[in-house]
Amino acid sequence: MPVILWTDAMIYLLLATGFAAALWIRKRPHLVLPWKRVADSSTGMVSLLFFSLFLLVGLLDSMHFRPALPEKIDGQQVYSAEVLSLFDVLASDMKSRSEKTYSAPLAAYLYAKESMETRDGTIIRDYPRLHHGGAHLADPASELQEDVLKRAATGAAAGGLAGVFLIGLAVGLFHVFARIRPRMPGSPSGHETRAADWKAAWTGCMQRKSVRALMLTVLLLSLALGMICNLAAAYHVLGTDKVGQDVLYLALKSIRTGLVIGTVTTLVMLPFALLLGIAAGYFRGWVDDLIQYLYTVLSSIPGVLLIAAAVLMMQVYIEMHPEWFETSAARADLRLLFLCLILGVTSWTGLCRLIRGETLKLRELEFIQAAQAFGVSSFRILTRHILPNVMHIILIAVVMDFSSLVLAEAVLSYVGVGVDPTTMSFGTLINSARLEMGREPMVWWTLAAAFGFMLVLVLAANLFADVVRDAFDPRLNQD
């Protein structure tokens, strides 16, 4: 039975808006131009590739359903109380193969010694074997290294093949696309010209640095992914946590939480920042005073305090109404959504100030005065003249904010006012690492996993934002 959680709906909505925007932009050459510049940048395309991998995991993790249970009651299909996502199904191996407690990455033994009873009844104290990690090995001490290398190599080979296949597929699609295109009305047809066109287009495409960089990255990435997948089938690539869950699985599940916090919060924040910022800048007078006082007051309250107060209040409220939620996933999800709302309501001030400043500058420009002289209505001036001219700021600010919001979630979870404890997020991973780093021998892999994933996600988003900002900056693109 498919389940659409609140945040899922938000994500679908965002995706739909993104597609609509892309279609809208396609028809407007002056808006397509900067995106072409993004496509020409190697950094931009490589960071976009990384980011879309994260996005893919996040999306797979956003398609939720409740599996049907085998038994039926009164002929009625019964559904499990557990809400699973498509990603859970794909990674069900990783999800189900939990150990007893901590184990290091690619280990065959637990991380701590335990007392075990041998068959002959004596009790020895040693590292016990893992139930799943390296379970196929007879003598891990001698075979482990060789097996890991072998698996890595075969995985890499398979991944490489897949990568080559992917690139081949892309080339094939390009070919098909190039063949379809001339059939559009107005273009010359004929096989020879088409073939020649295709060849020219293809060589032109290959000469672009960004395309070559992209292909190289796809190849390297598929090598690495193939390696990890093959290893993950038999080992815990990033070890296990305190209760024996696979850390790689936890980190992958955290991606969705990070993305939701980054994007849904923006969705909440944007109307505030946009409407209030433009209104304050354009109308001046008491409207401006009011809005300015509002955001000055809001931004002078310590952010964490405000968020903590709101989250705690909301938490109590949810606890008092357990009957609202069919499943625990729904409850955790609502908490996540409220966290986004609260973050959004408290973080619009910066962007609002930015937009107000830009609008102040724009309203003095002569094309606004020309419109006023024609008696164009204020609403039309705001939407037709000012909004398109502040769009670049919004775009840049949104991407920049994304990374800071992902980090903000980590901080909030660390403080204890973040997401539901059952929701996996980078924040909860880091929070658990607090105790692990303090024990001897140190358990470092949970923190390292969270650190690595967050670094790549935020770096990809930031680099992409940089490229986008440069592409939209008219001063850098005079030619």
Binding site: F367, A371, A373, F374, N389
Partner: protein, 692 residues
């Protein structure tokens, strides 16, 4: 500094140093080439020589490479532009071959530069004295107290009164003219042999420009330094230069002494530049506009004359072969095929290229004088409150417009003239009710506009429209031309349906001389002149009767300015439009206006028919304003120099606003504002001199 009447100093000083040609030139530039990375030559084979005490003017329109020539000499080229070859010898040393550390001593030392925008060239967080001291520390042996003493001396040398106090002030406390004086003082601190002045007066008002130019001449006379003057203004060249090089698309196309150039310009481009200048003799005739635009430097062809596409004298050879540099017998150099192949048949002079048939039409129109007032303004006031404190109470008022009355008849042009900050733009916006007037009445076609409700105003908006100064800021960069033109029609529901609107747009584009296909393009694809045409089409779309033109040509090149002025003139002839022409450019006024109002500090000080006001000015301010305009003939003119700058409109002087700068000031001038004195039919003036 006190005002005084001085004779044109060119005649007293120009002779001395030009005689002194025997010695080595201060600067000798030879075959200088500066390129973009892609190989496009933005300065191409430029050669010239500057002698001691001489001013060499590089004249050209925007984008012709004259600033790049200067930056190449200073070795301060921006990234992506590099010097390809050539030599520049400053007193015999090749500055282009110097290592960077030695070059640093030359910059600001033997070779100094002043820039166009004095406001941007001074560091806002350092006092003026500190900034001069910085140069002194680098380029002189002075130390300690001597430095500050010398910087005060320098400030006195550039005519800044109360120099010890000014040395401790920050740039924002100084006016534009004073900042440029400080820049000159800084340049002088290194005792340069060569001063490069890059459009030193373009950002200044005419009266301030006259002060600065005079200062430069005086200093040159004292120190004998050479000046490389970069300008687009023929008037400035006429006043300052001994030698002139005319640049076009990266090349010097003509080089001559000032007298030779003004007596007989050789290159067709130079001839056109002279002809494109509006002035009184050409009233009623279209200006000689050069068709097209200055080509972008990156697109300059190598194997053709760069001016050929815009030249009406061009023939086949011009498009096949780049003309060689030719020096005529009288020493005048020119780069044109007209002079390489045949020397005869070129005595065509500038005058005969311009006239055409519209002459007669304009004369005929002159006859019919419509007297019905289209716009009647009575004692219009616009006061901006100065607010202070937490409660934002008004503690005073900036009287930007203080009791302006005017009448514009249908089909006539009224010019509102004044320096920047006198409130003339505010008048224009207050007429359109873009800024609500504080008091007074504005009646357009009999309808009172001040205090009218939104619906009544909306009806009036179609009748009165505005053309703005900056064509780059007046078109929304995110809208296509068709959308821009359509906006006014939509807002005022001009056309009935979409088809009608589209055909009207096509019609308008043709009317302002643009291609119909351009309606699907975006503003950034057009040049400044074309954008101004689009702005004109936009207002014409709503069929106005009165156009308020706020300095519509001040952001444009001379050759393009002529195109726009011709367009405005022909639109007036065909559509019977009235214009309120707001400008500081008196030459444009002579060409277009029927009546002239001179504005000073929010009030009209003189008004009357254009010919009378411009040729027989009465008010001392009008006289000073007119004499401050550099005349291109530059001969035998008495000039009135205005001291000081316009006071702030928040605290206008007691009595006559002008008395502090007026050479005829009398005791009563500081007591009461003079009433209107009639000095002729339709000519009146606010001055105590004409009270009887």
């Amino acid at each position: 500094m006190k005002s005084g009447t001085v004779s044109n100093p060119l005649h007293s000083s120009s002779g001395d140093f030009t005689q002194d040609l025997g010695g080595q030139p201060i600067l000798h530039v030879e075959d200088l080439v500066t390129q973009l990375r892609n190989g496009a030559r933005i300065v191409d084979a430029v050669s010239f020589c500057i002698q001691r005490g001489e001013t060499f003017a590089l004249l050209g329109e925007s984008g012709c490479g004259k600033s790049m020539t200067a930056l190449s000499l200073m070795r301060l080229l921006p990234d992506g532009i590099r010097m390809a070859k050539g030599g520049a010898r400053l007193e015999g040393n090749d500055v282009l071959a110097l290592p960077e550390h030695a070059m640093r001593k030359v910059r600001g030392g033997r070779m100094a530069m002043i820039f166009q925008e004095p406001g941007l060239s001074l560091n806002p967080v350092m006092t003026v004295g500190e900034q001069i001291a910085e140069v002194l520390k680098l380029h002189s042996d002075l130390r300690g107290a001597e430095i500050s003493r010398h910087s005060i001396e320098l400030l006195e040398q550039v005519g800044i009164s109360d120099a010890p106090r000014r040395a401790g002030e920050y740039p924002f406390q100084l006016s534009g003219g004073m900042k440029q004086r400080v820049m000159i003082a800084m340049a002088l601190a290194g005792q340069p042999k060569l001063l490069i002045a890059d459009e030193p007066t373009t950002a200044l008002d005419v009266t301030i420009q006259a002060q600065v130019l005079e200062l430069l001449r005086d200093i040159q006379h004292e120190t004998g330094m050479a000046v490389l003057l970069i300008t687009h203004d023929l008037g400035v060249v006429a006043q300052m230069a001994h030698q002139v090089g005319v640049m076009y698309a990266g090349q010097i196309i003509e080089q001559a002494s000032r007298r030779q150039l003004f007596a007989q310009p050789l290159h067709p481009y130079t001839q056109k530049l002279f002809a494109a200048l509006p002035n009184a003799e050409r009233v009623g005739q279209p200006l000689a506009a050069i068709p097209g635009n200055v080509p972008p430097l990156s697109a300059a062809p190598l194997s053709a004359c760069r001016f050929a596409p815009r030249c009406e004298k061009s023939w086949g050879l011009c498009r096949e072969q780049a003309p060689e540099w030719t020096v005529l017998e009288n020493g005048q150099g020119v780069r044109c095929h007209l002079y390489t192949s045949k020397a005869e048949g070129v005595q065509a002079g500038p005058a005969d290229v311009l006239l055409s048939a519209v002459h007669g039409v304009a004369q005929a129109k002159e006859g019919k004088q419509e007297t019905t007032a289209l716009l009647q303004v009575d004692r219009l006031q616009v006061h901006f409150p100065i607010r202070q404190g937490i409660l934002q109470r008004a503690v005073g008022y900036v009287k930007a417009v203080d009791g302006v009355s005017m009448t514009i008849p249908a089909g006539r042009t009224l010019a509102l003239v004044g320096e920047s900050g006198c409130g003339k733009t505010t008048v224009g916006k207050a007429l359109l009710q873009l800024i609500p007037p504080t008091a007074g009445s504005v009646r357009f076609a009999g309808q009172e506009l001040v205090g009218a409700d939104a619906r009544r105003l909306q009806e009036m908006r179609a009748g009165m429209q505005m053309i703005f100064q900056d064509p780059y800021a007046s078109l929304n960069p995110k809208m296509r031309i068709a959308e821009i033109l359509q906006e006014g029609m939509d807002a005022l529901s001009i056309a009935r349906n979409a088809g009608e609107r589209q055909s009207r747009i096509d019609e308008l584009l043709v009317q302002v001389g643009l291609d119909q296909a351009s309606k699907w393009r975006y503003p950034h694809e057009f040049s400044g002149g074309q954008r101004q045409r689009i702005a004109i089409a936009r207002v014409l779309a709503v069929n106005p009767a009165l156009l308020i033109c706020d300095e519509p040509t001040s952001a444009l090149d001379v050759s393009v300015q002529a195109q726009i002025l011709n367009l405005l003139k022909s639109l007036q002839d065909t559509l019977g439009l009235s214009y309120l022409f707001i400008t500081h450019n008196l030459a444009v006024v002579e060409y277009l206006a029927h009546e002239v109002y001179v504005m000073y500090l929010g009030r009209i000080v003189e008004r009357g028919p254009a010919k009378e006001v411009l040729h027989f000015p009465r008010h001392p301010y009008t006289r000073a304003l007119l004499s401050a305009v550099p005349k291109i003939d530059g001969e035998g003119m008495k000039s009135v120099r205005l001291p000081g700058e316009m006071p702030s409109p928040s605290r206008p002087p007691e009595g006559c606003h002008f008395h502090a700068r007026c050479e005829h000031a009398m005791p009563e001038c500081s007591e009461a504002y003079p009433a209107e004195a009639i000095v002729g039919p339709e000519h009146s003036v606010h001055c105590h001199l004409f009270r009887k």
